[in-house]
């Protein structure tokens, strides 16, 4: 049921949202998260961020994460779109959308999807700094903690 895409071009959040609602009247709320490239990293300006990924495994991982959300919450739809390639500060990276009859399910599923995606989808960020050489972004222990919240919830 979920829509999962890995792509280079920007996504159209309004169009994806309309697609979730199209032809149905059982949706009461749509939760959404859009991740965006920040212009600084550790206080230093960045020129660009390039996302490398593992074709094949990425789609598989995103599909599994979306299926887990659909197993945990009653969703009428779920969309996950993640970009790869070179992005500039201010550009959207990732879109998560969930549709449910009830707002809490949509909001919780949205938070779950972005938390799991950050620790389970094979993407790697490479930053081109304004000063100094490029660098690979290191994983956050905070992201592991955020993802681990869901291990003991809703099971």
């Amino acid at each position: 049921m979920a829509t999962v895409r890995v792509q280079t071009p920007a996504f159209d959040t309004g169009a994806e949202l309309a697609a979730l609602l199209a032809g149905r009247t059982d949706v009461g709320g749509i939760g959404c998260f859009v991740g965006v490239v920040r212009g600084t990293a550790g206080g230093q300006p960045i020129l660009s961020m390039t996302l490398e990924h593992y074709p094949g495994m990425t789609e598989r991982a995103l599909t599994a994460i979306a299926a887990e959300a659909e197993a945990r919450w009653e969703l009428q739809g779920c969309t996950v779109i993640h970009r790869h390639g070179r992005l500039l500060p201010g550009e959207p990276i990732v879109l998560v959308l969930t549709a449910s009859a009830h707002r809490q399910a949509a909001l919780d599923a949205t938070a779950f999807l972005i938390d799991w995606l950050k620790t389970r989808a094979p993407f790697w960020k490479h930053e081109e700094m304004a000063e100094g050489g490029p660098r690979w972004v290191e994983a956050h222990s905070g992201d592991d903690a955020a993802a681990a919240r869901w291990d003991t919830m809703k099971l």
Binding site: G35, L51, E52, H53, Y54, G56, M57, R60, A61, H82, I93, V94, I114, L117, K118, T119, R120, A121, P122, F123, W124, K125, H126, W136, V137, E138, A139, H140, D143
Partner: protein, 84 residues
């Protein structure tokens, strides 16, 4: 034979995106393959100098050092993921 893929700084340190390798007898797990690559050459020694910083997948599913390997497997090595 196993197909081995490298991503992010592991790809840079290995100097390649992928390779196909016969699995010698005795290399039966992800951990065994890491040990083999560490000993093979300077690139492998550098890339796998800190195995705790390396993550792996076998046939596009996350794996651990104990995950068994079979002929024909696709094995990938990469740093902890940073998407989203």
């Amino acid at each position: 034979m196993a197909r081995i893929l490298y991503f992010a700084w592991l790809r840079e340190r290995m100097g390649r995106t992928e390779e196909v390798l016969p699995l010698p007898s005795g290399v039966e797990t992800v951990g065994g393959l890491i040990a083999l690559l560490q000993q093979r050459d300077a690139a492998g020694a550098g890339a796998f100098a800190h195995p705790a910083m390396v993550r792996a997948a076998v046939n596009q599913e996350f794996a651990t050092p104990g995950t068994p390997l079979q002929d024909g497997d696709e094995v990938a090595f990469f740093p902890p993921v940073t998407g989203g």
